[in-house]
């Protein structure tokens, strides 16, 4: 037996008292770790999505909200396709790609799907209207529909290379290089669920389309769509030369910020927003949750601290004779207070570890289930949670430890 084992045995003697403080500390740490882990994973996902999407700008019809757009574009409003020409002719700095799209509901194999008409990159080469402009000599063959951004630190101000013409580049460029009028590209998830393969024929909106390829998984709603030539979709949907949205790919974030204003000026009855603005809401919510988790943590730590202090004071009062006897046997006041503090630190550490385990379980369950994020551990939260739990336990036990150290050893001479 030694000093530490004596403390441990005393804790085990009345576990109920210890458990109350431990539980509250554990809850506080669990709340912090769970929320922080989910928030940080969500932020990582958002950041990764932003990186994937690049410095994109969305041009939406005026009055269409971002939620409408992400609810499968079926907002009923449209933009003239002619806006695409206007943007190309305006030759804005840093505009790399233009992707006008028209999404219409359809049916395939008995399931409701969305067909998105997209204008392939090669269409921009063909536009006779543009031949009158300096675009050809300014490198249209390089597929730049805007002026080059000098000193760009972004994606590329890219030149179209062989890898960019492959459909697998869709995930990063959001552009299909070439697409025949009667061809279609099927999203990865839709192809899997319907058993569709390349070369197969499918019927959409009463018309036959040849499956030219299966798109790689992008993690977006495009995975469950069919992409076809914009003009073909306009024809079968009888919509006329309209689009739901024009995606503008800027070469970098710096350009995107300037372009928004310029495009809003160029197209006054449309609305240009950056992807970062779209995700800003999510980032704001994340930050709010982050702060909230710290507030909850602080409140629970205060309650836990008060509970530990109360339990320790009661413990010292209950053990007056025992502590007096220890002093009679030769324990110094410092030893006696160390016993109390050692007990408190055990409560803090155990509470922290239990809270950590609870928090991680909650995060790994709740993250994917409720927020669609694969959770990873927030190391910050783990470290802060454990350290604060220990400090709170020690601080709360300091007054009772001092009281214990100042006990009168003569108490041991009192009758039972």
């Amino acid at each position: 037996m030694n000093f530490h084992s004596m403390v441990w045995k005393e804790m085990l003697r009345r576990p109920g008292h210890t458990l109350t403080g431990l539980l509250i500390v554990a809850l506080g740490v669990a709340a912090l770790v769970a929320v922080e882990s989910v928030v940080s994973s969500s932020e990582q996902k958002v950041a990764s999505q932003m990186q994937q999407l690049g410095a994109n700008i969305l041009i939406l019809p005026d009055g269409v909200t971002l939620q409408d757009y992400y609810a499968a574009d079926a907002h009923g409003k449209s933009l003239p396709e002619e806006y695409v020409t206007r943007i190309a002719l305006a030759q804005k700095v840093g505009v790399e790609e233009l992707a006008p799209k028209l999404s219409v509901p359809a049916e395939l194999g008995g399931d409701s799907i969305v067909v998105t008409g997209i204008l392939p990159r090669t269409e921009f080469y063909k536009k006779s209207a543009w031949q009158s402009v300096d675009l050809l000599t300014s490198g249209l063959s390089e597929s730049a529909v805007g002026k080059k951004h000098e000193g760009c630190g972004g994606r590329s101000c890219q030149i179209v290379t062989a890898d960019k013409t492959d459909i697998s580049s869709y995930a990063s460029t959001r552009i299909v290089h070439a697409l025949e009028m009667d061809s279609a590209l099927v999203g990865a998830d839709l192809a899997k669920s319907q058993g569709i393969e390349e070369g197969q024929s499918i019927r959409i909106l009463g018309e036959k389309f040849q499956v030219a390829g299966i798109l790689p998984a992008t993690g977006t709603s495009d995975d469950s769509r069919v992409l076809a030539h914009l003009h073909r979709v306009q024809e079968v949907a009888e919509s006329g030369p309209i689009v739901n949205v024009i995606e503008v790919m800027g070469c970098c974030e710096e350009v995107a910020t300037t372009l928004v204003g310029e495009l809003n000026e160029l197209l006054p009855d449309a609305r240009a927003v950056t992807i970062s603005q779209i995700v800003q809401t999510q980032v704001t919510v994340n930050r709010l949750m982050n702060r909230l988790s710290y507030v909850i943590f602080a409140i629970l730590m205060m309650i836990g601290g008060a509970s530990i202090a109360s339990v320790m004071f009661a413990n010292v009062a209950e053990r007056k004779r025992e502590l007096g006897t220890l002093m009679a046997l030769g324990a110094t006041p410092g030893m006696v207070s160390r016993m109390i503090l050692l007990k408190a630190s055990a409560v803090g550490l155990l509470g922290g570890v239990c809270g950590l385990a609870l928090g991680l379980i909650a995060a790994f369950l709740a993250g994917p289930q409720f927020l669609g994020v694969a959770t990873s551990v927030s190391l910050n939260a783990v470290i802060i949670g454990m350290i604060v739990a220990l400090i709170v336990a020690l601080a709360a036990s300091y007054p009772p430890a001092r009281k214990a150290a100042h006990l009168d050893p003569c108490l041991c001479f009192q009758d039972a």
């Binding site: 004596m6 003697r13 030769g330 001479f413």
Partner: protein, 230 residues
Amino acid sequence: MLQIESICRDYTRGRSVIHALHPTSIEVGQGEFIAIVGPSGSGKSTLLSMIGGMLSPTSGRVILDGKSLYEINVKQRSRLRNEQIGFLFQSFNLVPYLSAVENVQLPMALYGGDCVNQEKEARHLLERFGLGERLEHKPAELSAGQQQRVAMARTLAMSPNLILADEPTGNLDPDSRDLVLRTMHELCDEGRTIILVTHDATVSSSAHRIFHITEGHTTEATPDRDRDAA
């Protein structure tokens, strides 16, 4: 071995001063068995506490083996108490969540050391007191007599030269009381000094010297004078 030089203890309550113990001087030699008798509240426990280095006297000195107890710091005094003074209490004062052997080990474990040897020594002491079958029992699982024997084993754990006992037989049956007294005398024969506080005349009469305390005043009596008084 022990010199108590004019120690007294006063308490101040507002403007009044309470003299718990008037100036007392006692000289105790090695191997002596001293009994301190007196009514409740007379100052017996106060005197014992001061001798044991647990209560600073208002004035005077306690010198144990040449060391003035209250002229060293708290840590040194605690260490000295651990190594040279053993205590025996009326209520045994065993730690309820430790087994018999762990209770005996307690004084040895306070300042670290070899746990294995300490446990061996504790077991040996308990076997000496006939508790070899009760080593792992908690105090609640022992009778009063057995608990006091554990307490005695604990008192001897550090082989102290001075043993201070506060009514050690107060809660015991006659047989257990006799056992405790016999043990006390054996310890005296081994050269240890025992100072015992008691109400029990049977216990005090077996002491080498008897001190009476009444209202804080200490006087020495002899065993013969006590018998005559009875």
